[in-house]
């Protein structure tokens, strides 16, 4: 079962995702437009997981037997696949953690160990809570100051305040792609400015890696965090990529088995990266699953996937523009724009929109999407968000637009 090759054949792709054929009512399949929340999984990924558990399961690194060797090879192969997928220089630059949030906390704890009053951390108002709260907690622990990039009226990062990044800046942590606005941020430029002042650059790539060809070297950043479950992989797995030189300098975060060199009653020494950051039994089979996901995405090709999603976003932007009273949050053109399509409909609360759509089997998200400061900045309490991935179709967008029109009528007509 090799996945489809270009030219992009969405019907063929959909065959690999049995859940897309689920029905919410007899004969009526669901419409899944919530991949920004979590993606669906192709059969290939689920098969790889089942096969590993049923045929090769053992603990890694420390097991000196047949299954142990197979499990270790599978786990380290997965690390190498992920490294290749994002353009890492070596597999040892890839650290497996529990999810993107765990990765960002690892970044905050290890980079932040030496911060103090007067030091500044810069994030942006469009960040996901997982790239806000760890830095707020760090600022509280250390007395450092948290500063924020604002956004422009169009929903792009506002880079006009030249003084935001300065000699006091120690860490800059921003998202590559906004999970609400869809905005693709100019990471390389921000990294250059931050590096000019000696700051370390962290990127929340949770909404980037699943959708765009990724080359961490070209982006020129220091730490780069993303999450398996949004890129066809299993839950329970996040990835931290770091420049090896930087990882080798960082103190450990979580302590435990496998991250040590020598444990003595009087104190312990720590292993080299990546082991230093992987305390205890790692998410072995989750890594194997992500390896299969990366194989799947690579076989289709990330450029082809990005191109296809670009088409879909253009189609969706045009469709949403026809719904009366609908206001899009974020850029209204597909230029430098990911697949998150957040919007408000006049006088209809997002929770009610979701409910009406769900009654037609359409899955979107309503609320603040873990980005409350952004919603406050935009002057809205919450929004609805549709989000697309490689398996979505123009017909599904039509279904969404129809249902939104019906929703407006439903509430207006009563």
């Amino acid at each position: 079962m090799t996945p489809v090759a270009a030219p992009f054949d969405v019907a063929r792709v959909r065959e690999d995702f049995p859940i897309l054929a689920r029905e919410y009512a007899p004969g009526k399949p669901i419409t899944y437009l919530d991949s920004g929340n979590t993606s669906q999984k192709p059969r290939q990924v689920v098969d790889a997981i089942a096969d590993h558990y049923l045929q090769h399961n053992a603990n890694v690194a420390r097991a000196m037997h047949l299954l142990g060797a197979e499990a270790t090879e599978a786990y380290e192969n997965a690390r190498a696949k992920v490294a290749g997928f994002i353009g890492a220089n070596r597999p040892e630059e890839v650290v497996f953690v529990g999810n993107a949030s765990a990765g960002l906390n690892l970044a905050a704890h290890t980079l932040g160990a030496g911060l103090g009053p007067g030091d500044e951390i810069v994030i942006s108002v469009m960040e996901h809570h997982s790239n806000i709260v760890p830095w707020q907690m760090l600022a509280e622990r250390t007395g450092a100051t948290l500063r924020w990039f604002d956004i422009t009226d169009e929903g792009r990062l506002d880079l006009s305040d030249e003084s935001l990044i300065n000699e006091r800046t120690k860490i800059v942590s921003v998202t590559w792609v906004s999970n609400v606005l869809g905005t693709v941020n100019p990471i390389a430029g921000i990294a250059e400015r931050a590096h000019a002042f000696g700051a370390t650059v962290v990127v929340d790539a949770s909404q980037g890696v699943p959708h765009l060809p990724t080359d961490v070297s070209a982006l020129g950043v220091d730490l780069f965090v993303f999450t398996s479950h949004k890129m066809l992989g299993p839950t329970g797995l996040g990835v931290v990529w770091g420049r090896y030189d930087l990882l080798a300098e960082l103190p450990p975060f979580l302590g435990g088995g496998e991250m040590i060199e020598v444990v003595r009653m009087t104190g312990s020494t720590y292993a080299a990266p990546p082991a230093r950051f992987e305390a205890g039994t790692p998410p072995i089979v989750q890594a194997v699953g992500l390896g299969a996901a990366v194989d799947y995405l690579s076989a289709i090709g990330m450029p082809a996937i990005a191109e296809r999603e670009h088409q879909l976003v253009e189609y969706a932007l045009a469709g949403l523009a026809t719904v009366p009273g609908l206001r899009l949050l974020g850029p209204t053109t597909s230029h430098n724009r990911g697949g998150a399509l957040a919007f408000r409909i006049d006088d209809i609360h997002p929770h009610d929109v979701s409910q009406l759509l769900d009654s037609r089997g359409i899955a979107i998200r309503g609320g603040h999407h873990c980005a409350r400061p952004l919603h406050e900045r935009l002057g809205v309490q919450s929004s609805s968000r549709a989000s697309v991935y490689l398996y979505n179709t123009e017909a599904e967008i039509d279904t969404l637009v129809d249902a939104l029109n019906w929703t407006t009528d439903f509430f207006k007509g009563r």
Binding site: H349, P350, H351, D352, Q355, L356, D358, S359, G366, G367, H368, R372, H375, Q381, S382, F410, F411, R414
Partner: protein, 150 residues
Amino acid sequence: MDVNALYQDIILEHYRAKSNSGLREPYQAEVHHVNPSCGDELTLRVNLDGDQVVDVSYLGEGCSISQASTSIMTELVIGHGLAHGLELYEEFKEMMHGQGKVELDEDRFEDAIAFHGVAKFPARVKCALLGWSAFADAAHQATEGQGADR
């Protein structure tokens, strides 16, 4: 899923024209309740005089279910004894967790019986209870405050 069972006319009417909305003075206790899954937030004040609920006022943004439920709740509790209001809360909660199997008494619950349909939508139960639990919490704080005053 029949959305008509959920969105009774009474609910949409209260959503469009909320009773007792807007924060008012005086009050003994103010609480801020949140439904983190959808981000709905509600600030609610209670003004007690002994064991009488003199006023309940609130400022909130939320879905039709949470807004209508809060609106109806204020109509049911203002001007009555606190014990009565808290009793209604317990019964309403029981109904909301009853998955449609528990009925409310129309004489005592008036417009709130419209929420019977909501109980069949587990995801919306929290919405319907947001205002009620804020009221109970604020009333609790207000009575504790009175106790301290004596």
